[in-house]
Amino acid sequence: MRPERYADLGPMAESVIARGQGRSYGDAALNENGHVLITERVNRMLEFDEGSGILRAEAGITLAEILTVIVPKGWFLPVTPGTKFVSLGGCVAADVHGKNHHHDGSFGEHVIALELILSDGNRVKCSASEKPELFWATIGGMGLTGIIGEVTFKLIPIDIILMEVRHHAADNLEQLFKLMQDPDKDDRYTVAWIDSMAGGADLGRGIAMYGHHAMTEALPANFQSRIKLSRKRSVPFDFPSFALNSLSISAFNNRYFKKEGGRRYPFLSNYDAYFYPLDGIDQWNRMYGKRGFVQYQCVIPERSAFDGIKTVLEELSASHRPSFLAVLKRFGAQGRGMLSFPMPGWTLALDMPIRDEGLFALLDKLDEIVLQHGGRVYLAKDARLSAESFRAMYPRYGEWLKIKNAVDPDNRFSSSMSRRLRIGEE
């Protein structure tokens, strides 16, 4: 189904899951033997207060579309994931986070109100003060409480479109943690790239990358001449599966570590290149070949974050499975979404090509480590978590289920993911 009118978002007589841009990595927006409701045509901007930065739009709109309108007016997204080709509804349903979670929280914290379309076609408005339990069940609720129709949220003001960025290299995980905990170095956006191929004494070596929205004063006088507009590149075919192997990734990582690690002095970067590096390469996922890849993202609570992340990296290193990309971020205060992923602690995201079934055994092992440390796995990126692990990782599931059952007693809003996780059952 792909409605073009707002009125056609409901009612629903059979199993359905909303799908925005389909950018979640797993089965969150798939629905085997059920309906998938593609929201991409219900993507209108409805209201924008240029004074306060409050925007109301239909959930099918993409962040890219929003940015083209708000950036020239001096506003920016309060939280953005690593791609702008996601829908606004998806950002709410997965309660996405960015590199600024330790300061600004997840996307849901900036949402003022939602309009939800229930299976009987009724439209329900909710917010932190109006039907708050439905609101916080929908934020991070993976689309399982209803079709998200409209989202009202608050933007942040910016001065210019550039980011001021600094890099600091760390030779191992301990140094990297120290760097990222150092309040003098910290910035609004902080993220670390980890060389996942480095093991032994070098385990966890990486580059901490700090950034904030630049102010006009930061611009050198002759800055116009320095801005490079990058051309959009594309991966025109599936790479053969051997293209990304331990050797090629090691070589790339070594080069990247040396080149990027040395950029300690602040430099300016376009917001597009800073927030959305992979968006510049069309169909980058084809680099992983036909069998594709999985992303594994977990969070480990503050108290044992270092040990937990270290153990995960050690497992990975011992498995000799190359991870093309490993990213470490800090999470701040606990959000209010009942099934939201972020919790105070540290989060590690790994991209791993699928070679054989052994990968999934490794991921099950990683789940155990994450659980031992009281952490959890990100549903938006997940394709293989077990129903038991899900319940252990998301302790507010029972509370969430009561609200789900109240608004959707027939479990019409369901997906391949919700059946895999046996959502709907106790």
Partner: protein, 245 residues
């Protein structure tokens, strides 16, 4: 210079894309349709994305008795109205071939209603010696086929009507353009079997606006449909009647 354009049947995907292409040029718009909630949503979106003036109002193609008053109100609001895009249409159901109730609706929505509002537009622009009328017909109107000939007949009649109007208004310097889209990726075709060479509504919308800057009177979109339909029209009737199309 920015223009003022009336779009009739403004809530379809093709109409929305056409309105977007006009708004991107900085033109002001009057959007008309039966579905007022959708109109408000589309209008708000175009205002925010392009900073242009967008009005909207209720219009029912089949309620021909309301057309004169409707058109006068549009002209009163947009005194410098420079053109009209007729974008409404109703595909209906081929059971119309056996059930005339559905057939009558297809004919009145696609042709009778169009002829009624077009006569209002034609008289207005003729007296001003300027303006344009863009009518969205269909490749389905180029040859009758058993699978959708009621719709095809209504759209074919619209094409003939536009052709005559073009002849009449040529002397008054009013441009009349017939658009014949092939398969377009809209709610009308979504999920239907047998679709091929499907164009995006964005492409169709951009080409419709671009047609104003070109000289063609009849525009097939995408262009290759002109040749596909030429071949289909060239099939001799004794052969064609045996075919399953």
């Amino acid at each position: 210079m920015s223009e003022a354009v009336l779009i009739l049947g403004a809530t379809s995907a093709i109409a929305r894309a056409t309105a977007t292409a006009f708004a991107a040029r900085g033109d002001s718009l009057y959007l008309a349709s039966r579905d007022e909630e959708e109109l408000q949503r589309i209008a708000a979106d175009l205002r925010l994305r392009f900073g242009v003036e967008v009005h909207c109002g209720s219009f029912d193609a089949e309620a021909t008795e309301t057309h004169e008053a409707f058109f006068n109100s549009v002209v009163a609001l947009m005194q410098d109205l420079s053109g009209v895009v007729l974008a409404f249409g109703y595909l209906g159901d081929q059971r119309a071939a056996r059930d005339f109730k559905e057939g009558a609706k297809i004919i009145s929505a696609n042709f009778t209603g169009a002829a009624s509002i077009l006569s209002q537009c034609a008289n207005h622009f003729e007296s001003l010696h300027r303006g344009f009328i863009i009518g969205i017909a269909s490749v389905a109107g180029d040859r009758g086929r058993q699978s959708n000939y009621v719709y095809g007949a209504a759209k074919g009649a619209l094409s003939l009507y536009l052709q005559g109007l073009r002849n009449r208004l040529h002397a008054s310097k009013v441009r009349v353009i017939t658009i014949k889209p092939g398969f377009v990726d809209t709610a009308m075709t979504y999920g239907l079997p047998g679709m091929f060479l499907v164009a995006s509504p964005q492409y169709i919308g951009e080409r419709i606006v671009a047609a104003l800057g070109r000289s063609s009177d009849v525009v097939y979109l995408p262009w290759f449909w002109r040749y596909i339909m030429l071949l289909i029209r060239l099939i001799p009737e004794p052969v064609f009647k045996r075919m399953k199309l």
